[in-house]
Symmetry: C2
Subunit: 231 residues, 2 copies
DNA sequence: CAGAAATCGTTTATTGATTCACAATAGCGG
DNA sequence: CCGCTATTGTGAATCAATAAACGATTTCTG
């Protein structure tokens, strides 16, 4: 229905949602753009723009209905039926992710895990079967798995990625410190913990900030988008 | 020495480094921009630009000396003496990160961990002492800790962030799904695993790609930056 | 009921990052 | 020794994302 959303937009929608869920649980029914902008780190204008793209409308003095927003976000982000993912590389990080993600979504399920280490084959890790890599193509194909999570060491990452793509996944969540070479139609999201850590260390040492996202704070404080320069 | 690098630049430098280390271990001495661009997902021009910012120079037909590049990157990214970090929230994710990060860098050390759960106090987790949150301000101040890693649930994240900032950290690595409110001089790097997962799920369902980074692949294939249009 | 105040929807600018394009340079083969 | 080719360094153009600005609209208050 709604048009294709950009990468950044999807990120923000995901944040809006968790925020809205919390507001709803606190008993709120409606919300204003300036309430959402601060915890997401953007301006009220950006929030309104995103909501517009969702197809929702608010009323000038009464804000947006939280229920409507949540429904629209769910329609945009969640798979209509059910979507399956597999995880490759059951190390410390892989295990933590399995725990973190298992049972968290109704519409997205981590269906199987894979590892080279034979001692892990056949085990059930966090309620998720663990297989050898040789089983990967078969299982991914049979279950129409769309998403692959890669938590193997750097040297193995490209090989695993190629296997997953060949088997038909169309999205990869890559934790290896490397930009994977994949077919055009496969989306890759890179999460590089080492880079993130090194980034923080670097900027922590250089308090001469480079505009961090502090503007949102200021923007939210002033009403009317700080367009108030009637002077 | 060298000027302040942008966020994106630091990310790429971190990637270049791990790539260069691998090349060096494979016995290479020199490298060309088009070798680095593919695994990092940018154009050769971007690589040259980054290297220029490092203060390194190459020679037109002979490339860059790997040793020089590694030295320059280390000088830019690594702390001259030693830098300390603490981790707050010893859950599954926190544990995995401790394991992942412990002993990985000489210049950046995870000094202590904190958790609300009293059963964890006094324990040594992955060679790292675990304390109650009440100890946090004292320890951070005494050891001049500059970096805080936040792996607590969303509801506790802002409180923890404020504690850390008040105690003097200047960099935060935030795994909670929320943009933290912090003083101007504190840098925050957000890693939101849920958002990342939802992003991949969304784009995996929409193979109508939005320019992923596939251009680098193409660029590297053609020599002379595809500026070859002598026609 | 009318005027004021707040909030939305949207258009226009701005910004910053990235790619393009090409002149300058150094090695290489004949 | 000389032209040829590959590669670097960088100014200009492009592009996407964001913020600013402002008219339109609706509730609130006296």
């Amino acid at each position: 229905m709604t048009a294709m959303a950009s990468e950044k937009t999807v990120e923000r929608l995901s944040l809006y949602r968790r925020l809205l869920l919390r507001l709803r649980d606190d008993g709120a029914d409606v919300v204003f753009s300036h309430q959402l902008c601060v915890p997401v780190g953007v301006t009220p204008a950006q929030v309104r723009r995103d909501i517009m793209q969702l197809g929702c409308s608010g009323v000038p003095h009464a804000g947006y209905k939280i229920k409507d927003l949540l429904a629209a976000i769910a329609e945009m982000l969640d798979a209509p039926q059910s979507q399956r993912a597999v995880l490759v590389g059951v190390g410390h990080l892989g295990l933590a992710l399995l725990t973190h993600f298992s049972g968290r979504w109704r519409w997205l399920h981590v269906h199987a895990a894979f590892d080279v280490n034979p001692s892990k084959h056949g085990a059930i890790v966090r309620g998720c079967n663990c297989y050898g890599l040789d089983q990967l193509p078969r299982i991914v194909r049979e279950w129409r798995v769309e998403v692959g999570v890669i938590t193997v060491p750097m040297d193995a990452a490209q090989t695993v990625a190629t296997m997953l793509c060949d088997a038909g996944v169309t999205g990869l969540l890559n934790f290896a410190p490397l930009r994977l070479q994949t077919p055009e139609h496969v989306y890759v999201e890179n999460v590089d913990l080492t880079t993130s850590f090194e980034k923080v260390a670097y900027f922590a040492r250089h308090p001469a900030r480079l505009a961090n996202n502090k503007n949102a704070e200021r923007d939210a404080a002033s009403e009317k988008d700080r367009a108030d320069v009637p002077g």
